[in-house]
Point group: C2
Chain length 456, copies 2
């Protein structure tokens, strides 16, 4: 008789695990059942701001594979709008509720994949009954924002709360939709995913686009009229608005896991071993935004919700369930984002993170250009490196530039991944031709500067 795999959560991690397991084990060997609370499977949540802005035209463009595709081409029994409400590890059963028709089923499993994703942080003041207040985590969220923006009376002003990736991307999207946008950030600066000196470059560009940035401001409530939001109340006064977007980050969705006794780490994510197996539970695996993972530079557990990790982790789970061998060796915190006409990239540790991990280090910042200075289209670029003292080992890197900047972080990420020193990096054989780089690539210029700083 076939064994039975149950996947809880039908997005990137869960469906990557299911597909990989299916590639290795046919349906006579492994029955696969996947439960998804929402309407969709495997879509690009990272694309939602671009759909809201109109850069991406159709919702379905964001859907990688539909439930029907999984059923027909991969023989995976996907049940959407079905929420798993309990896991019984002793009886090897999950309890699931049909969200549309009601009713509960119990389903037996031999192997379980926990891939429930993350839940957005929602402050108390963001009450459901006030219209015009949105998160942007799911396709349904995206559809709701679009509908609100298109409906009469047309919103003219927007407040984005939180200056992380989503907040910044949404601020840009709303400007593109013609709204007058204010970004409220409780901390010192938006874009705190890079160091303050680099984030300042981003803030300047955002202001140049007409986005008003209010930092050090805490939202305390909402004002409403006829069930619609009309203002955001802060500890520094009231901000009139027609729509509020929340970009306050997410936390691992582990309610079910904790109730079932799966171990949850200090980051709030489910703990997993190198093969993405839940420690001590040979038939239970977890992947994606609900787990914590090793940061390879700090050596600490971190929670980094990002589609690329979710896909990789899901693949690892699927290979292992399929009888192969694969590990997920952790992350180094690489991220890229487009903010207005700026490109921003980072990898490794920021200064603050490096300090709190106990490192001593030097930092350098160098200015260069994306192409040979004389080649048309050459644009300025700032590269910042953080290197351990005295070893010279790269600990982190950040790039802000106007074009051809963000993905340059990849070369630095691979160098960091391999534990290179900045001295070693000065010799790296990177691609050179005038349309693509100066004869000393910006990455190499920064490495040279770091070598000089270490010698002082």
């Amino acid at each position: 008789m076939a064994q039975r795999l149950i996947v809880i959560g039908g997005d990137a991690a869960g469906m990557a695990a299911a597909s990989q397991a299916r590639r290795r084990r046919g349906r006579d060997d492994l029955e696969i059942l996947a439960f998804e609370r929402g309407h969709f499977t495997s879509y690009s949540a990272c694309g939602i701001p671009y759909w809201i802005s109109g850069t991406v035209e159709e919702r379905d463009d964001l859907i990688v594979r539909s439930p029907a595709t999984f059923r027909e081409e991969h023989q995976i029994d996907v049940r959407t709008r079905t929420e798993v409400t309990g896991i019984d590890l002793d009886r090897r059963e999950v309890v699931a509720r049909d969200l549309d028709r009601g009713g509960e089923v119990r389903e037996r499993f031999d192997t379980l994949v926990y891939a429930t994703g993350a839940v957005p942080t929602k402050p108390d003041w963001a009450r459901d009954e006030v219209g015009g207040v949105f998160g942007v985590q799911t396709l349904d969220d995206g559809a709701a924002v679009r509908e609100w923006l298109d409906a009469e009376p047309k919103p003219r002003r927007a407040v984005v709360v939180g200056g992380g990736y989503i907040g910044v991307e949404m601020a840009e999207a709303l400007v593109q939709r013609g709204l007058s946008v204010t970004l409220v950030e409780q901390g010192e600066q938006p874009m705190s995913t890079v160091d303050p000196d680099m984030a300042a470059l981003v803030a300047t560009a955002m202001r140049g686009l007409g986005i008003e940035i209010r930092t050090g401001v805490r939202v305390t409530g909402l004002e409403e009229r006829d069930g619609r939001v009309v203002a955001v109340v802060t500890d520094a006064g009231s901000l009139p608005t027609d729509v509020v977007v929340l970009g306050l980050g997410v936390r691992p969705n582990t309610a079910l896991a904790a109730a079932a006794g799966l171990p949850v780490g200090t980051t709030g994510g489910v703990r997993v071993d190198r093969r993405m197996r839940v420690p001590g539970m040979p038939d239970v695996w977890a992947a994606g935004d609900c787990v914590e993972t090793l940061h390879r530079v700090s050596g600490m557990a971190v929670h980094v919700p990002l589609g690329t990790h979710a896909n990789k982790q899901g693949r690892v789970v699927g290979i292992n369930i399929g009888g192969g061998y694969a590990t997920f060796p952790g992350v180094i915190g690489t991220a890229v984002t487009k903010v207005c006409d700026l490109e921003v990239g980072r990898t490794g540790l920021r200064e603050r993170e490096a300090a709190s991990a106990g490192f001593e280090f030097v930092t350098v910042r160098s200015e260069s250009t994306s192409r040979a200075g004389y080649y048309p289209g050459a644009r300025p670029m700032t590269v910042k490196l953080i290197a351990e003292r005295p070893t010279g080992r790269l600990l982190g890197a950040q790039i802000v530039g106007r074009s051809e900047a963000a993905k340059r972080i990849d070369a630095l990420a691979v160098a960091l991944w391999n534990g290179m020193t900045v001295d070693d990096m000065t010799a790296l054989d990177l691609g050179y031709a005038p349309p693509y780089a100066p004869v000393w690539d910006p990455v190499l210029i920064a490495a040279r500067k770091a070598v000089d700083a270490l010698a002082k």
Copy 2:
């Protein structure tokens, strides 16, 4: 009394060495004299095709630092239009001739840097007395081509001989200048710097631009009228033309070195140790297009004339002469180029090179896109990987794509530099956001495919 450094050759390698030495040792400690045969110092030879095409407007845009700058800001006594004609290692003297005014000087040195660059391959049939036949190695060459193209009668047809980087770039440049261009390549295909399957993509794009490509054809002579070229004679007939550009590669310029007894390797380049010192000659250093260097993947000596290596090597020489410690650990054959609207990148070994180095390997080719498929501007990209069997170690990579393709080779180059396996590479934490990459970056997709191929 100050010691005396003489640099032979005032381009990238020589002047990088001189500048770095100066940074570390003041003029009271080290007198620096640099001889350059041409009019210019430190210019971008790689930029010449773009100057000829008109993409770069002014010749002086290509000049990084002028002789005057070196003299005034770096206290380096640069003597242009002065050719070194002999090196006397026993007496520690060089003999130099003033090319404009005539006359010879002998100059004493304590330390010598040999940085004479490369000389273009010039076949017997390319006689100097026939007008309209050009190399494109120096700024003077570039100026001569521009003058010829601008003069009456305006050339309408061009033949480019040789399909390497320079040949391909010049073919494109001449098309941009409105000429009807034929590229003649003796081998199977132009762009043999990548494997034939990848080069075929480039050839198709070139034909799309109207460039006629004749492969397997050998040039045997020229036809002239009134001292001007009117046709190129080949073993497959005659090709009428108004201008001929030679792109037949270069060889190390080692005549002086060999005469003085410096060791020359099997590649024809001057041999150097890891610090770029000539073995057995403690006060003689060499750098740039005149030396041979270690290929870190094949373990063999290679001659790779490229500005980025020349600059790095010159820097290493200068640091060492300055009393510091630096090494040049070799190259891995990374190169990028723009060919019409294609971007081409390579690193490591091609299939043929891998085979002749004795490796067993698998190759994979994968198709993907530069950005998330749904994000506007996503363009197709082909990534090829060559991985050692059975270890999985990356041996080489090639990329051909329409945009945001070429510099993706850098992440692969850093992975190769560090000896990563394709299996390790599937976990690499590369930058992901919809405007910059699909959730699986093309590099990661290729690595996954290589893992599958190794398992077969």
